[in-house]
Subunit: 217 residues, 2 copies
Amino acid sequence: MYSKSEENYLKAIYHLEAIAKHGVSTNAIAGEMETKPSSVTDMVKKLADKGLVNYVKYKGTTLTEKGKKAALGVVRKHRIWEVFLLETLDFQWDEVHDIAEQLEHIKSQELINRLDKFLDYPDYDPHGDPIPDKNGNIKSAEKKLLAELKKGNQGQLVGVRETSPDFLQFLDKRSIAIGSKIKVLGKEFFDGSMVIQVQGEQFFISKKIAENLYIHI
Amino acid sequence: MYSKSEENYLKAIYHLEAIAKHGVSTNAIAGEMETKPSSVTDMVKKLADKGLVNYVKYKGTTLTEKGKKAALGVVRKHRIWEVFLLETLDFQWDEVHDIAEQLEHIKSQELINRLDKFLDYPDYDPHGDPIPDKNGNIKSAEKKLLAELKKGNQGQLVGVRETSPDFLQFLDKRSIAIGSKIKVLGKEFFDGSMVIQVQGEQFFISKKIAENLYIHI
DNA sequence: ATAATTTTTTAGATAAGACTAACTTTTTAT
DNA sequence: ATAAAAAGTTAGTCTTATCTAAAAAATTAT
């Protein structure tokens, strides 16, 4: 279908669109892709010719519907492979990205669908990002940081930001894991620390901890 | 490490060496790779510069130790992925090759080792070909066709050559599967047909059937 | 043994994707 | 409002891996 390079550009533009909202700049794409702006210009022209992006000279680039669909296909593959690497092969959080970056370009719809089934149709990847379905639909809301929640809010732990052994051990010791239901019992204005409830147990956590846990409400 | 293309050439030369034995011809490589001989000449020169093959103009190409090790690495990856696709994702025999052809180029030693562990260190792929270990050692003998065995010989079914639904159903009905122990009770010189014993039961099979079953003695 | 055929190599061309350097447009600052 | 800076584009080059066409070497046939 599309080349590895084209797929990577589409993915980069997709991610940047979520932040920029007003047409993605050539420089931004170059930053994300770790290439030079001139290379980006060449590629977005090519993608525009294929109907995957809207490109206006000097103005910026946006995905067309076709381009968005293609980008979501790559995102879906990336996130499903990440789940596989972590859940099935027991990789560490920080090891999966580079490998998923390669695996996401394997050409086979059937492969990803079977993998999805094998993993029992996960909704989120290990970073808490939602996995688009076969048709490119993302059912679920975007994740929030635990630190953003208020007293009384509750949700489900869907991912972590920090992946250092120290931090992961901290969570392990308290049996806080992906999928855990977390409720904010109290929040200190002074330092942002919290008292949370996880499976019946209560814990005091600092703001720094709360800023590294992704939650879905 | 090496490019996808380089890996494919190394693998092709490895497979051809097993048959040709006397230095692989440029045309043979071109046939295997589905490229033109001139492309092969270019590539084997490049591989020779990297110390991966011995190349003598007009004479042929052989793998160096370094090249053989690299080729075995690719073969190992290919075969482990094939096991994964068949055993874990329930693909059909004939669907796995093209996908494994892509997956074998994923750069990560750790990935393949973890996959190997997950699959419980298989010795053979679904076609009955032995899987090299981490160090490139192939413990086991090469497979033989059941048709090559003589009366009284016995072995284990390690793979099939034909993968048509008709043939696979034929085996299924008789509970003949990978791993089955097969003994040749009789063999007809006239047409090569056989009487075999599989898990206590006896079956009459034609030469055509026997030519599509791979056995390890 | 020499001619015909086949195999292999060389030379030059092409496409994809990236780069540098120079130039143009847009944005920012005075 | 215009000069300076930043952002973006163009033109031309490079690398990898291919190809075609022509030339050279090796093999086969008479």
